[in-house]
């Protein structure tokens, strides 16, 4: 098993990684091409604007309602799952979640695990944890398989290997698998499938994520396109599902619009090729299915977000990836630049409560607040508004009352705060402001030719010869439609 080396070749900070990504023309074109295609597909899938907006509204409503009943729904879910024969485990931290998963595998003397796609397992860094304990955990989603083969992390939550093109995947297969594979996508996929097929039959344990956990019926819903999810959850004798506590919804009726929003927003699909509804282990009269099914419910900071009314909206997320597909920053720097499990706009707002804002202090600033993410979010998470909130948390003074966001205040700078105070003086005292205008216009020839980072991309801004204050006053004095002197 390859030991995963987490992004060692990349710079250690966000800005450095961004710089490297921006200079990589292959990476840039891979992302631009892929994101363009995904945006087009989503737009086509939502061709009726009224239907789209109505559905987004409904999606938001369902998620908000589910979250407002979260403790009750989780209790109901546990009761129903247990009645269905699914064992429920609770984990507050990723460490606890890994211990639980490891314990279950050990109990069955498992050595080989096959995994369907799961972002929560990425949060847990489950592959590394198990590898350290001599358990092979093989990714079975084609994209995940590719990044695992190359010792990388996913660069997108839906399409983990989207940063690579077919040529790069072919080269990787030739190198790592010793197989001569062309750049033909079908051939690449067939090669991967052939290898994985064997593993599904050999695996002791199958691990998967969950898209929605349905409280009323005790059902785990999993959408996928490759069939690997169904294989991972039915072929091995033990199935362990891992998911975040926010994924619970009341009933199957809630799931219908959410699945439609999810698949259309993610890949422009009316529905995925597979929709798995897992309601328990194999029953005596059934021919297939695992003998045991477990669900690990992970908190990992989610209750922290839940406690804050504004940040709670981050838990609405159904992990479709549309926000990153439409993000001009993500499109240019790619997923690895973010250095965290969840990249892009959604990553910027869910990562702080998982790892602490102080670990990702540049993330909230890495946005022009263009609003594309909020515009396409299927459950209407106001992502720009939450980024704004995180910017405020970032610059909070250390003596500020206990922060609602973990790791707040790491960007606090007395100097910068003073600068903004001076800016307030300038903009709240008209005499100062006018003096400033007078000086800036009068001495415009003295405007500096270098203006910090601005002049890296721009010529230095030169103030006009006369301000609008001046021009307007003179103009209105002589205007045929006189403005009053003010």
């Amino acid at each position: 098993m390859n030991q995963r080396i987490p992004v060692t070749e990349l710079a250690s900070d966000f800005k450095g990684r961004a710089r490297e990504a921006l200079a990589d023309s292959q990476l840039r074109s891979n992302f631009r091409t892929a994101m363009d295609s995904l945006m087009r597909k989503r737009a086509d899938a939502f061709s009726d604007e009224d239907e789209r907006e109505g559905l987004r509204e409904l999606g938001n409503h369902i998620r908000a309602r589910s979250l407002s009943n979260l403790p009750d729904l989780l209790e109901q879910l546990e009761t129903k799952l247990t009645a269905n024969g699914i064992k429920v485990h609770w984990a507050e931290t990723v460490e606890e979640a890994n211990e639980i998963v490891h314990g279950l595998i050990e109990a069955h003397d498992g050595r080989q695990v096959v995994k369907g796609k799961s972002m929560v397992s990425e949060e847990m860094e489950m592959n590394d944890y198990l590898a350290d304990r001599d358990i092979e955990c093989l990714e079975s989603d084609m994209g995940e398989y590719i990044v695992q083969l190359d010792n990388e992390k996913p660069s997108h939550i839906i399409m983990p290997a989207i940063h690579k093109n077919a040529r790069q995947v072919s080269a990787l297969f030739n190198e790592k698998l010793g197989e001569h594979v062309s750049e033909d996508v079908d051939e690449l996929i067939q090669t991967g499938r052939r290898i994985l097929r064997r593993k599904f039959l050999e695996a002791d344990v199958g691990v998967s994520g969950v898209n929605f956990a349905i409280a009323e019926t005790g059902t785990l819903l999993l959408v996928e396109n490759e069939g690997n999810g169904r294989m991972s959850t039915t072929s091995p004798p033990v199935h362990i599902a891992v998911t975040g506590i926010e994924k619970v919804v009341s009933n199957l009726r809630d799931v219908v619009p959410l699945v439609s929003l999810l698949t259309r927003s993610a890949l422009g699909q009316p529905i995925t090729t597979y929709v798995n509804l897992i309601s328990g282990p194999r029953k005596p009269d059934e021919l297939d299915g695992p003998e045991e099914v477990h669900l690990v419910l992970l908190d990992n900071g989610r209750t922290g977000a839940f406690a804050d009314a504004q940040m709670r909206q981050t838990l609405n997320c159904i992990r479709c990836g549309a926000c990153m597909n439409h993000c001009p920053v993500y499109t240019r720097v790619g997923g690895h630049t973010y250095g965290e499990v969840y990249p892009g706009p959604i990553g910027k707002i869910v990562t702080p409560h998982m790892v602490g804002l102080d670990k990702v202090p540049d993330h909230p600033s890495a946005s022009s607040l263009c609003g594309a993410c909020g515009e396409v979010c299927p459950v209407k998470i106001p992502i720009p508004e939450l980024l704004q909130r995180l910017r405020q948390e970032n610059v909070q003074a250390p003596d500020h009352e206990p922060a609602a966001v973990r790791g707040a205040g790491s960007k606090y700078s007395r100097k910068e705060r003073m600068m903004w105070r001076a800016w307030v003086m300038l903009n709240t005292r008209p005499a100062f402001y006018k003096l400033f205008l007078w000086a800036a216009t009068r001495f415009r020839a003295l405007a500096p030719k270098k203006a910090g980072p601005w002049t890296e991309n721009h010529s230095a801004p030169v103030p006009a010869a006369r301000s609008l204050h001046d021009l307007a006053r003179d103009h209105l004095k002589n205007s045929p439609i006189r403005g009053e002197k003010s």
Binding site: D36, V329, L369, Q392, K434, P453, H458, P463, H469, G483
Partner: protein
Amino acid sequence: MSELFYDAAPNATRVAPARETERRYPDKPAEVSLFGTCVVDLFFPEAGLDAIRLLEQQGIRVHFPQQQSCCGQPAWTSGYREEARAVALAQLDLLDDGRPVVVPSGSCAGMFRHHYLELFAEEPENLRRAEDLAGRTFELTEFLLKVCKVQLVDRGEKHKIALHTSCTARREMNTHLHARELLAQLDNVERIDHDHESECCGFGGTFSVRMPDISGAMVLDKTTALRQSGAAEAISADCGCLMNINGALEKQQQAFRGRHLASFLWERCGGEQ
């Protein structure tokens, strides 16, 4: 490199225009206040003056309160809420006379219309005043089109332009729709789509100096798309974007430039109508 992208995906990201808001518009008022915005004040004063001229052309008496400064947006988007509030309060006090306020910038108008409500959410009296201000704040193109119901008479030569709309304006004020309609009234002006038209130019206020590498990549793509559109110039109703786009073009030593919509309209339709 950028050129290649454009060939590969022309206009791929143009999302459907945002839905028209349900905003109800008043009859044309006799007087308005112009809020010039700080960027226009110092860097594009002609655009502000042309906005005044366009309004006067509609028979409206324009006031320019001399005490005005900035809407507070730079501090607000930088996370300095208290500082943004202090500056916002000064404008709120100044613009408290009940007159309609016209703003030649979608993002600053959006600040008045949307974000002041967040800034003063916890202060009932100021919130009431902010709501009042929001209700009578109009972005210039919106005001000309929806309130004045202008019928522009184009006096210029045949001309091709590309329209760039700021993101906050697009998503908060629907400026792209209003500007398009105004430009469509000009017989000799052809508006040409440019590649990835709905994508951000990379300005984002302090984003452009906090993340110069990413912002620089964005503005390079935007300026390239504008130049390659076949338009003779770019038109925008936001001077933040224009400062970004023109500053980058100048640095790239390109002759192509962007211009404020107010100046463009006044040049083509100025004088008696």
